[in-house]
Symmetry: C2
Subunit: 186 residues, 2 copies
DNA sequence: AGTTAAACATACAGACTTGTCTGTTTTTGT
DNA sequence: ACAAAAACAGACAAGTCTGTATGTTTAACT
């Protein structure tokens, strides 16, 4: 197991801190200390704290989507995959003590000029939306329009389950959302 | 129109800043400057910044719930009131440029020890949940259990619509959530 | 082996943070 | 009018923050 490079160590450490402690609660000095990196080295790789957050979110997007798709891959039908998405939420969020969605968390209390971070959140949510749509488009008893509409409804349920389980620090919102999703999918 | 007292001026100013600019982005000095209050006076009324936020959330809860109930009061049936709740979201959120939910926004990036704020969020969300349940309990074709379950599903839709409309800065999630709510309410 | 690049440590600037403290002025109640 | 309470102004503490600058040491490549 070889040691990570400086850039990767920064991103890994920052990811952990940004997600678990929050963006505003995490300082540059804490990141370089825990990553074991000199401040000058850090500013060689990233122009600003915001840029580190963008790298964090980009990496998180890749792994989050990939984990989701892996989780539901053993389901046969697309409807079953979508239902299983709520089980993914459960598995994921209970393992992080209901810390919620990294994108939701970072954009709700952000300095005004941090548009690059906001853009990452929009990209992430759109990708999830597109993935849900694509699964429903292949269901042959749905028109394209119905697939879009139904997919959007499922996306709302996913978002609501995440934020409410975070506030309540409990899994019931996820179970409720799954039940509602089943109803909507008939 | 008589001038507000010091305490009220602090809460009003802080409410505006906390909601529109964010809790972490708002400093004590900005609050006292804009409220036109001396710092010593402020600390006579509030022990800490967190306590100001608690006062903000308590006041916001009163007015938010009251606005919601006023908005749906002209609807006849409880089912219609619940559907109209999504129109309330639309009216409210479009008027604040989709700035989202004050409680969601403040708890997602909060210092570790700010439990009083977190408690306010739980209280607020529980009150909304109870209100939804109470409306459905009076519907005579639903058992108590069905009313609870259906109510929770609606609550998830409300939460999801708020956070997603905030990220997308668009009202489509609210319309989608309303449509899903109609389906679930049959 | 020698050159170039990367990472190191650390001091510093400059601004900001919450909260305390001192002392003066204004308002309020009697 | 007089005493008590409230609000005022503002300095200050002690720490935080991001980002820059300087110079040294290690690693990589030819």
């Amino acid at each position: 197991m070889k040691k990570l490079g400086v850039k990767d160590r920064i991103i890994e450490t920052a990811s952990d801190l940004f997600y678990n402690n929050g963006y505003n609660q995490t300082g540059i000095n804490q990141i370089i200390d825990e990553a074991g990196v000199a401040k000058a080295s850090m500013y060689m790789h990233f122009r600003s704290k915001e840029d580190i957050a963008v790298a964090y979110l980009k990496r998180r997007h890749i792994s989050w989507v990939s984990d989701l798709q892996d989780f539901v891959s053993n389901q046969i039908t697309n409807r079953e995959k979508l239902i299983a998405s709520f089980d993914y939420l459960d598995s994921w969020l209970s393992s992080v003590n209901y810390r919620g969605c990294g994108w939701q968390n970072i954009i709700t209390d952000l300095p005004h000029d941090h548009d690059k971070i906001r853009d990452q959140a929009v990209l992430h949510k759109n990708d999830v939306r597109v993935w849900v749509h694509s699964l429903l488009k292949d269901e042959d008893n749905l028109s394209d329009n119905e697939a879009m509409q139904l997919g959007d409804e499922l996306v709302i349920l996913l978002e609501g389950a995440i934020i409410l389980s975070q506030i309540q620090k409990n899994k019931w919102p996820i179970e409720v959302a799954k039940r509602a999703a089943k109803k909507l999918l008939k």
